[in-house]
Subunit: 244 residues, 2 copies
DNA sequence: GTCAACGATAATTTCGAGATTTTTATATAT
DNA sequence: ATATATAAAAATCTCGAAATTATCGTTGAC
């Protein structure tokens, strides 16, 4: 019965155990919905009805339910008892608070990372910076296609910076905040604007970290975060004024 | 069919919409399992089989699954694809990292709370301190019975201290860390030891906050957290040495 | 005697349907 | 005309069973 009624099962099950790919359907559903929320395919505040999600993604009710529950834990989705799920709303106030808090956490992690970084950390940092620089150069020519790839390498670079921080909990908290920030960043990028020289900012962070200049690195990284807030705030306020 | 097979449904459904009580079964299951983990009824590292949970709590598979997924988000439970759920393990290393991180977050929240606190905040603080003092006095006579009540009022007092901090995200992160700490605290309390004068520490925090002495409040609160770590660490290392 | 392959058992994961609650539309009374 | 109560409709919540996957004991070969 299941084999015929739900081709997804066999499709996912027969797929080779490829690393990085989703092994369970819940994970696949989580990844798919998460990506849609981050990229704006599911709008902030939108109601998430199961019938709609069923047709759109092809998963069963329980599977979708668990995926949504995961997303609630990541604060990308809100739930109200007996009233279903919604995409978490966005607001200027939340963006400001989020950015402030992320700066607080990320700078502390950066400090500890620089102080604890070994040769392997330097290697990861050099590699990540190189990869990011390559995609940044390509981005100016064809910005549409490499959006996901840029986000991915940007994530890798920022993670490499703090990867030598020994605190598991600081990493955990930072991960939550960083994902939230990524959402706002992508919202502001689809309404593409702002020819900012992010490469220069990344380069400054990279060099300060590699020379173990803690204060300079924190200052530059802090300014980087603040500048991102300023840009996103401008886009967000412009995009939200017609809607309310 | 469901009505006869699962009396829980009607029992929970027919219950009046009492505030504070669980409205949905998922919430009830989450609360029940969470309490069992916090109080040690489910031991750290223990495997959480559905058959066992079914008999113990009387919920269906999907309901339990969603409750466990919630707990994974709160880091009280771990999950491995296709291998089920386990109660999150505890360790001295994790306790040290957790305490350090919680101190970092909590002191910042305390600072902002004192700087932003209004009359209503002072009122909440005075009330919470009074309630905590009353149960602390009773605790020395009959320590067994009022354990849960003490934890509840202790939570309320510590929350009242930072309740005027305006950052939603700081509160969110602190909530995660505080719940984790509560788990360690209760583990160390079942192996009851240490006649520490916690009331004096609470009183010092209370007075420093009320007089708006930020530096003193942070110093006292920091020492309070560190001292709790020292006690818990001692108990935990003693309790874990036979097991490995 | 040790290791690998095989098979039976147990556990997890997923689905669709039934039960309950919320929401919306309608009709009636004030 | 507004508001309230009732009823139909839609959506959520929960459960038990089916299917997939992992685990463990056994047998056979080297």
């Amino acid at each position: 019965m299941h084999t015929n009624a739900a081709p997804n099962v066999t499709a996912a099950a027969l797929a080779p155990p490829k690393q990085g790919a989703a092994r369970s359907l819940v994970e696949a559903a989580h990844e798919a919905i998460c990506h849609e929320i981050l990229t704006g395919g599911l709008a902030p505040g939108e109601k998430l009805r199961f019938e709609m999600l069923r047709k759109r993604f092809g998963f069963g009710a329980s599977t979708l339910r668990e995926a949504l529950t995961r997303l609630v834990g990541e604060a990308l989705v809100t739930s109200e008892e007996q009233k279903g799920f919604r995409v978490a709303p966005v607001s200027l106030e939340d963006l400001a608070d989020l950015t402030r808090t992320r700066k607080f956490i990320e700078l502390e992690a950066l400090r500890e990372s620089i102080l604890n970084g070994d040769d392997a950390w330097e290697g990861r940092l050099v590699s990540a910076f190189h990869r990011l620089s390559k995609v940044e150069a390509k981005l100016s020519s064809g910005p549409e296609l490499q959006q996901d790839e840029f986000e991915h390498r940007n994530n890798e670079f920022h993670y490499a910076l703090i990867s030598a921080c020994p605190s598991r909990w600081l990493h955990h908290l930072h991960g939550i905040l960083y994902q939230q920030s990524e959402r706002y960043r992508r919202i502001s990028l689809v309404n593409r604007v702002v020819p900012r020289d992010v490469h220069a900012e990344h380069k400054a962070m990279f060099e300060a970290a590699l020379t173990r200049n803690v204060e300079l690195a924190c200052q530059v990284a802090g300014e980087h975060i603040e500048r991102t807030l300023a840009v996103m705030g401008k886009v967000l306020s412009a995009g939200m004024s017609p809607g309310g």
